[in-house]
């Protein structure tokens, strides 16, 4: 059965492993997410749960969303995300806390990466660029983007400048280093997309767990 939870990235720090090596970990706070809605194969056509995260005031939500949150009767949430699950036993209003995951498990993390704005090919795609001095007139330009009369067009997917970052990114197979249910903390080995205090989705690893 698949499983997931919504959290907030607090930042990175360093912890020592048993063998003495220092490990970079990302701390993620998961104040209990609340099941707002359970979707079933019979009713909606697929099995999923909708979780709410990030408590907010009632007046900050539209009336339809207020009514939606009221069904669970656990407060109002800024963030509502769906997680596909197998047939499980979830009920609206149920709280899912950090101990959903255990240390040693592998998970996938989804976040919105930091926006870098419009960037050229050197930063965005790691192009080498040209020579800086000695009369070089080719500094950070992309160079040739294809042949001439044949094919008379630029192929799709050509690496060029453009918006970098601020996109939904998934990092797969991060190791759960430690889970502290008393503080609703999950420590993950390695970095996670997004800024501090950014919202992230934690899911069971798709490729390792099948």
């Amino acid at each position: 059965m698949s499983k997931g939870i919504i959290g907030k990235k607090l930042g990175m720090t360093q912890v020592f492993a048993d063998d003495g090596s220092a490990v970079g970990v990302t701390a993620i706070e998961v104040e209990p997410s609340v099941v707002l809605q359970v979707k079933t194969r019979e009713k909606e056509g697929y099995a999923a749960i909708q979780l709410g995260y990030g408590r907010t005031k009632q007046k900050n939500m539209t009336k339809p969303l207020q009514g939606h949150c009221n069904k669970a009767n656990k407060g109002f949430f800024r963030f509502r995300r769906e997680f596909a699950i197998g047939e499980g036993t979830y009920e609206p209003g149920q709280e899912i806390s950090a101990d959903l995951f255990k240390a040693g498990e592998y998970i996938d993390v989804v976040g919105i990466s930091k926006g870098k704005g419009f960037q050229g090919v050197v930063k965005r795609h790691g192009f080498g660029g040209g020579r800086a001095t000695h009369g070089s007139m080719f500094h950070r330009a992309p160079g040739s983007i294809g042949a001439s009369a044949d094919p008379s067009r630029v192929f799709k997917g050509m690496k060029m400048g453009g918006q970098m970052g601020n996109a939904r990114k998934t990092v797969q197979n991060l190791l759960v280093w430690q889970v502290r249910s008393d503080r609703n903390l999950i420590l993950l080995k390695g970095p996670v997309p997004g800024c501090k205090n950014g919202f992230v989705l934690l899911k069971k690893a798709k490729k390792i767990n099948g």
């Binding site: 990175m12 912890v15 020592f16 048993d18 003495g20 970990v25 701390a27 706070e29 903390l185 420590l187």
Partner: protein, 119 residues
């Protein structure tokens, strides 16, 4: 308290003696060789201390068979068995990189007169 600070505080060790740059220390390092575990000492002058909660580190320099050897340890690393303070040094820098260019008698550091250790 800040959660990240809390995590780092838990990593810190309380049994580290207070030493400064210029001091001579003996660092006992735990080494695993295959199945065997043993403790190796590394004695030299502290040429640098970097602050940063549990991430702080220090660098020890010694001259071994005429070749300068430097090792950087995380201050709170579990690899360190214990640290012994051999002597306190009188220096006017916080980073003693100038020692790298010096050899022999010039590379010595004056011992602090006021705080001579009893041992």
């Amino acid at each position: 308290m800040n959660v990240l600070e809390m995590i780092e505080k838990e990593q810190k060790r309380s049994d580290i003696p207070g030493f400064k740059t210029g001091d001579t220390v003996k660092v006992y390092v735990r080494i695993i060789e295959g199945e065997k575990r043993r403790i190796q000492a590394f004695e030299g002058i502290v040429i640098r201390k970097r602050k940063g909660n549990s991430r702080s580190s220090f660098t020890v320099r010694k001259v071994s068979y005429g070749i300068g050897v430097e090792r950087t340890f995380p201050l709170h690393s579990p690899v360190i068995d214990r640290i012994e303070l051999v002597s306190r040094g009188q220096v006017c820098r916080s980073r003693l990189y100038y020692l790298r260019a010096l050899r022999g008698k010039k590379a010595r550091i004056k011992e602090k007169a006021s705080a001579r250790l009893s041992s």
